[in-house]
Symmetry: C2
Subunit: 329 residues, 2 copies
DNA sequence: CTTCGTAATGTTTGCGTAAACATATCCGGC
DNA sequence: GCCGGATATGTTTACGCAAACATTACGAAG
């Protein structure tokens, strides 16, 4: 900066004013400074800036994996909106969902240059290590019910599940079977609870749930079992990938979808419309989740109101070709 | 830090030594300092640290989207390996592949606190704005052939395509049709070139290519056309999602896969094994790509040898159920 | 018992920036 | 023509940390 100042024949403070866009610098001076900056290839040192200003203009995002559609789409939305607001985002992957992995991630995080943190995981996992969280603001997202302690943004899992089950019931199915996500996933738990609630409310029998792990492979294995259940005419899978596995299992076992069995997924991944048959599923607005997260952290960073609470993003049932009226008994 | 020093009854320099793990601090003193740190909830300020040391311990990753399997898996691998090495990663999303979007991203990047950059896109797009790149080290990845100017790490696209086409030819197919990715994608171009080369080499007719955009939907549209081509018994799709669309189109048109038509994809996404039928595809080792990228940037950051050049990560054909011998004419 | 070497700790300094304060310049009004 | 007040620019300082150098303490060798 001093070099630029020298070259432009001004003080370094004036250079600073130009580089931060502060007012009070007359046109001709500004021009000179800009020219000098360009000539010298000056770029402000963000570390010094951060040190001086006491903020990093960076948001940390902590998550287990980018491999699930939901996570990567949410992160992408977060990154885009943060960028719009002039914030960078730092990814903090937790290698493994063990105490060690978490601790490691949070230790790193503690030293990280972030003004706020978005946590994409069930927050109870954090409790053991939460002390290490930097004093900055935090938002907890997807997969948590800690709305009493944190600001939570999440898809309205319950309503999504409700729409899915209701759709199948309306189609005349006597009941709906359910394939869950992995234990420990709050989203999965929520969807299962809602499914059970609707069936109970409607006075329908509640079939035993099958447990999957989000993967298509686990859906396939569950599908093989369900194909053997005579009464099974409708299945609600907790995500689209498992639904894909279901589809394959039913196909292999000669159970036609949707003629013999109806299948509904959750997520509405881009491929869902190209499954065989195209999948009826619950659309999640990941972009909205990401946007709201960013907005919420920024609000906290800027010390605006910071009440804990949960913001729910609505879902929408997308009816395609994997559901049909129940087969005549 | 001064507070900690005061509480522990030592100088701030000793606190610094403890916090950075430098040697030359006797056990009892260290204990006291650690206790004081804990009591005061001290965390080192990384901005000050970065300013002092002249490095950020951060790597920037610039890309268009996280929505493609390849990108998100690569980023995940990068994040994990960077974390192992004590580096954080900052995501720099380019909103749109326009000049403006790029410029914006690179302007942000210029001011960003990164020691190195990993670029996940065709590097020619950068040429117009390349001046803005920070003086730090860079690695260019997936989707580029700028091995003469940069360090490039990429999947061996050509060999992957070769294996796919060779497999189909070996199965007795007279020729192989091809569905490309979007124009402007180097990976897609590479796969297409290799496909063409093999066919030429084998003296087979070269069907006109169909153009997709990586999406299953585009694969479906292409599939509808290909289903109408009487001579089409084998298709090589440039990625798995388009292959999925192909599968659906063929299914709808009554062209049985693999009995009537064989389909090969590229990527080996986790779902590929659950397609109907399970997809034969070229497996990409995204984890290796990510790991090599990190290793390469770090080498440059540490001023070790920094010759431009391309590192190719091998692929592997995974044969599942979507390919079979050519139907008898 | 002195001297020297080494290990432990303390003091000074500057990294690049921008806020706070200080100074210079210019203009209009009387 | 002189003064008050804006406006443009310069000077000083501190942000938190860790290198570099300085000091102290202590034990071993002579």
């Amino acid at each position: 900066m001093a070099d630029v100042a020298r070259l432009a024949g001004v003080s370094s403070q004036t250079v600073s004013r130009v580089s931060t866009g502060h007012p009070g610098v007359v046109g001709s001076t500004r021009e000179q400074v800009l020219a000098a900056m360009k000539q010298l290839g000056y770029r402000p040192n963000s570390a010094a800036r951060a040190l001086k200003r006491g903020e990093f203009r960076t948001i940390g995002v902590i998550l287990f994996t980018l491999a699930t559609t939901g996570n990567s789409r949410t992160v992408e939305a977060i990154a885009n909106h943060a960028a719009e607001e002039g914030y960078a985002i730092t990814l903090i992957p937790v290698a493994s969902p063990t105490q060690d992995g978490l601790l490691g991630a949070f230790t790193r995080l503690g030293e990280l240059a972030v003004d706020g943190v978005i946590v994409i995981m069930e927050v109870h996992l954090l409790d053991a290590v939460t002390v290490v969280l930097p004093p900055g603001a935090q938002v907890v997202v997807v997969d948590s019910d800690a709305g009493d302690r944190y600001t939570v943004v999440d898809t309205d899992q319950a309503d999504g599940a409700r729409q899915a089950v209701r759709h199948l019931l309306d189609l005349g199915h006597r009941t709906v079977w359910h394939l869950t996500g992995p234990a420990g996933s709050f989203a999965s738990q929520r969807r299962e609870d809602a499914w059970r609630a609707i069936l109970t409310e409607a006075g329908r029998p509640i079939p035993e749930v099958r447990h999957g792990d989000w993967s298509a492979e686990s859906g396939y294995r569950a599908g093989l079992e369900l194909a053997a259940e005579p009464g099974c005419t409708a299945v609600f899978a907790a995500n689209d990938q498992m639904a894909l596995g279901l589809l394959r299992a039913f196909h292999e076992r000669g159970r036609r979808v949707p003629h013999d069995v109806s299948v509904v997924g959750f997520d509405d991944i881009p491929d869902a419309g190209s499954f065989i048959p195209p999948l009826t599923t619950v659309h999640q607005d990941f972009a909205a989740v990401g946007r709201l997260c960013v907005r919420a952290v920024l609000r906290q960073i800027r010390h605006e109101i910071t009440e804990p609470g949960t913001t729910l993003v609505p879902t929408r049932l997308v009816v395609r070709a994997s559901t049909a009226p129940a087969p005549a008994a």
